[in-house]
């Protein structure tokens, strides 16, 4: 009836997903695992937007795969997690803005690597415009403004600020096209109940609970390993974001310039976040490496690992920069750190980062829909 062994064209993929969702809807055994199954049980038919919605609601916890009596080698060849992973890949590509950059998802690992190399080159080039080799490789005292001796603050602020604005706009465009495609009003997104519940589910990763025992990572025996590492990654990222925000405030509002003392708020937040990110990203790469290959779409490994590797490198170079900022290595480390940060920024709308955007939207939509009566289907 169906097969999900090899990557498919988009039409085939949607058609395949429609078949599989029909099977799941007639079965419903997995209803207790996550939000996807109650959401699909509200429907009799699955149009293309339903497929994208359910695909992004799926957190790839794997529970349903091992519970499925129709999983391979059964002739239905039903592999729900892999199929939904492929659907998500299509969502990311389809709603990317500008559209032609969606193609970056086709070989995302390669794309992220090339953009990273380009970003490093660009940062080094920018630095070379302002300083000679001696300045680049000399030691600076840890006094205020030392970083700006190697790269002027305005250059850093304007280039990164500009990129950040573009990234925010590209992500916003993705969302603003994805949300209405599900048949939802933009205004409804801001409904306080569903919005806070959706965000709440995302913050605690409720749908990685697999009905209470965790998800099937790193092995088919359920555990909370993946959820734990994701928390380290997400909250580590948020701490780093907080660190940057506080530093921006210090710089502009208090005229207090980087590098900051070890016990200052930006450094404390950044160090905690950086260490959490190292643990989280390394852990996620590890559980993904260990997991049953059946759960994943193999062509997406590059996307997954590319994003995690960038986050890992950012934390690593950030922490090294902190340790060696009074040595001759500071200039090179700063260049490397800024290079990978730039690469992360540039690949945010065209890499794995967007999973948070579409999954968040799907979660809010789930809670909106939950409040509505089920159309057509009688209770019994």
């Amino acid at each position: 009836m169906s097969t999900v062994e090899t990557p498919m064209k988009i039409d085939e993929l949607i058609e395949e997903a429609q078949k599989v969702l029909r099977i799941c809807n007639a079965c419903r055994y997995c209803e207790g695992y996550c939000a996807v199954f109650p959401a699909l049980a509200r429907r009799l038919e699955f149009n293309e937007s339903d497929v994208h919605y359910l695909g992004n609601l799926c957190h790839n916890c794997g529970s349903c795969f091992y519970a499925c009596q129709f999983a391979p080698p059964h002739e239905f060849q039903l592999n729900f997690p892999r199929l939904m992973a492929r659907v998500r890949g299509q969502t990311y590509q389809r709603y990317a803005w500008p559209g032609f950059l969606g193609a970056l998802y086709e070989k995302n690992g390669l794309a992220v690597s090339l953009i990273t190399a380009g970003s490093l080159g660009l940062v080094i080039f920018l630095m070379s415009l302002f300083l000679n080799a001696e300045q680049m490789f000399s030691a600076y005292s840890d006094s205020q403004g030392a970083f700006y001796a190697v790269i002027p603050h305005n250059v850093m602020a304007y280039s990164f600020g500009g990129v950040a604005l573009f990234v925010a706009f590209a992500l916003f465009m993705g969302f603003i096209r994805f949300w209405p495609s599900m048949g939802e009003d933009l205004a409804d997104f801001a409904s306080p109940g569903p919005l806070s519940e959706g965000i709440g589910d995302a913050l605690v990763l409720k749908n990685l609970d697999g009905g209470g025992e965790g998800c099937t990572y790193p092995t088919k025996q359920k555990s909370f390993a993946r959820k734990t590492f994701h928390h380290f990654t997400f909250y580590g990222f948020m701490l780093c974001f907080a660190s940057t925000s506080v530093a921006t405030y210090y710089h502009y509002m208090l005229n207090f310039k980087a590098p900051y003392p070890i016990l200052s708020l930006p450094v404390l937040l950044g160090v905690t976040g950086g260490i959490a990110l190292l643990i989280g990203t390394a852990g996620l790469i590890w559980v993904k490496h260990q997991r049953d290959p059946n759960l994943a779409a193999p062509e997406q490994t590059g996307m997954d690992v590319g994003f995690l590797a960038l986050l890992f490198l950012i934390s690593l170079t950030g922490l090294l920069l902190l340790c060696y900022r009074e040595t001759a290595m500071m200039g090179s480390l700063l260049a490397f750190h800024l290079g990978v940060v730039l690469a992360l920024f540039l690949t945010m709308p065209y890499g794995k980062f967007v999973h948070g955007l579409y999954r968040g939207a799907a979660l809010v939509r789930f809670h909106l829909e939950r409040r509505r009566p089920v159309p057509g289907v009688a209770p019994e």
């Binding site: 029909r22 007639a26 055994y29 009799l44 009596q69 057509g376 019994e380």
Partner: protein, 465 residues
């Protein structure tokens, strides 16, 4: 590797719910246990893979069970579906054990969940497994491995050595060779013969060729045949089983739950001559679904067509195959390869006989037919609102009831009523002791869980002296 030098305390033949319940119970009582599953690892678990709940007696609300389901009501329900073809002392043992088995199941990793969407009617009587029967089997196998039960897959028992009413050894075809394994006792829990098409044909004649096997393709009844040859006293007969009407487009084997069609009570069912043949509205569908397999089996070419109009669409669990759809009855008949004239006449007669009251699918409403044979006694509404939809139906056999007779220790009885010393039976292979005919949703898992645990405990008691 299969250790043929060792004499195990217990050999368990089979790898579904009853087998694992027996193996785990005996292992907990200190027995060394060898379990032989005939299926490959991916298809382990027999028909349990396709189950989702067990029917539980309970005196008051529990975590996931509402209200109460007292022993007497359970017994009356069983009497009703079997028409009295049951063994009262075994049935009562079963019923009372179902009120105690859930904690044991949870100890071995089974998790329960509230009733699934579309199954609210079962929230009082049936406890649903989180993830269904395959998840339950995974939990039991994990537990069995942790406890040190020796498990072998694709290990098919091809011969049994039984002497003087006692089991001595079994011959196993495994990895291309035959091995003799010895044990002090044996629990036989390897299912019915539902996937043995030749045997079905023997029992049913040519109509069996049109049956679909809703369950596992691995229950071929080979061990049942050996036991009968060794003089086991049989129970029920070869035509009895859990047989529902499923979508005719389903695979020959292993289609499981998704092949069901729940539209029957909302419309009419006709045979290939476009004639109705049974009251579609006799009772709530969950109480009647299990008779429709036999009803369709009794029709020419063993095919039926559930026909509804657009008023009924969306009022039942969505079946896996899309309905056959037409804008007129004539077009529908053509698509179904029925005679358009005959179908139009049948539906015109039906519509003319409908006395529509207040339609309510959640109660036994007052929408009936008058002067029609057979009548439709509830939920009768005219089929007059296009588009029209049809689902073709075939008998879908889940499991057979012909089995071996057991006593209250789940010991197999010989034809002279003497119990075997060390041969125990559990699950489908002895389900006929409780279910002479008919079916009660979730009782298959109750039988496997109860008699599996009894067989395991009694085998351990025999072995431990």
């Amino acid at each position: 590797m299969l250790d043929t030098s060792k004499t195990y305390d217990l050999l368990v033949i089979g790898g579904g719910n009853a087998a694992l319940c027996a193996a785990l119970t005996a292992r907990e009582a200190g027995c060394s246990v060898l379990l032989l599953e005939g299926a490959p690892i991916d298809f382990r678990g027999g028909n349990t893979r396709h189950t989702r709940n067990l029917r539980c007696m309970h005196e008051g609300p529990q975590d996931i069970l509402t209200d109460a389901y007292p022993e007497e009501e359970y017994w009356q329900d069983l009497l009703k579906v079997t028409g009295g073809l049951t063994t009262e002392h075994l049935a009562r043992m079963l019923i009372s054990d179902t009120s105690r088995c859930r904690p044991w199941m949870m100890k071995h990793g089974v998790r329960f969940q509230p009733p699934l969407g579309g199954t609210l009617h079962l929230s009082r009587t049936n406890a649903f497994f989180l993830g269904g029967g395959k998840a339950l089997m995974n939990a039991y196998y994990d537990s069995a491995e942790r406890l040190g039960i020796d498990i072998h897959y694709e290990a098919e028992v091809v011969d049994l050595e039984i002497e003087g009413g006692a089991f001595k050894s079994a011959t196993v075809a495994y990895q291309g060779a035959q091995h003799k394994v010895r044990a002090k006792a044996v629990v036989i829990a390897c299912g019915g013969f539902e996937s043995n098409l030749e045997w079905l044909r023997e029992a049913w004649g040519p109509p069996a060729d049109n049956f679909l096997v809703r369950g596992t393709p691995y229950n071929r009844g080979t061990v049942l045949k050996m036991l009968i040859a060794h003089g086991a006293k049989t129970i029920s007969d070869a035509t009895q089983g859990h047989c529902v009407a499923i979508d005719a487009r389903s695979p020959k084997y292993d289609g499981g739950i998704i092949t069901r069609v729940d539209a029957v009570s909302l419309g009419i069912v006709v045979n290939k001559e476009s004639k109705r043949f049974y009251d579609e509205g006799e009772d709530f569908w969950p109480k009647r679904y299990a008779i429709w397999g036999r009803l369709v089996a009794g029709q020419p070419d063993q095919i039926g067509y559930s026909i509804i109009d657009s008023k009924a669409m969306g009022k039942f669990m969505p079946p896996v195959y899309p309905p056959i759809r037409a804008s007129s009855l004539r077009e529908l008949a053509e698509k179904l390869e029925l005679s358009p004239e005959s179908l139009e006449i049948t539906i015109a007669q039906f519509n003319a006989a409908v006395r529509e009251g207040t339609f309510d699918h959640t109660i036994q409403d007052d929408c009936v037919t008058e002067g029609l044979v057979p009548p439709k006694t509830h939920w009768a509404r005219k089929i007059d609102t296009p588009p029209y939809f049809a689902y073709p139906l075939r008998p879908g056999i889940t499991f057979t009831y012909l089995g071996v007779t057991v006593d209250d220790k789940s010991r197999m009885l010989f034809q002279d009523e003497q119990p075997a010393k060390n041969i125990f039976a559990a699950g489908e292979i002895m389900a006929g002791n409780v279910l002479g005919k008919g079916y009660l949703a979730g009782i298959g898992m109750s039988i496997g869980t109860t008699f599996g645990r009894i067989a395991g405990a009694e085998a351990a008691r025999y072995v431990n002296g």
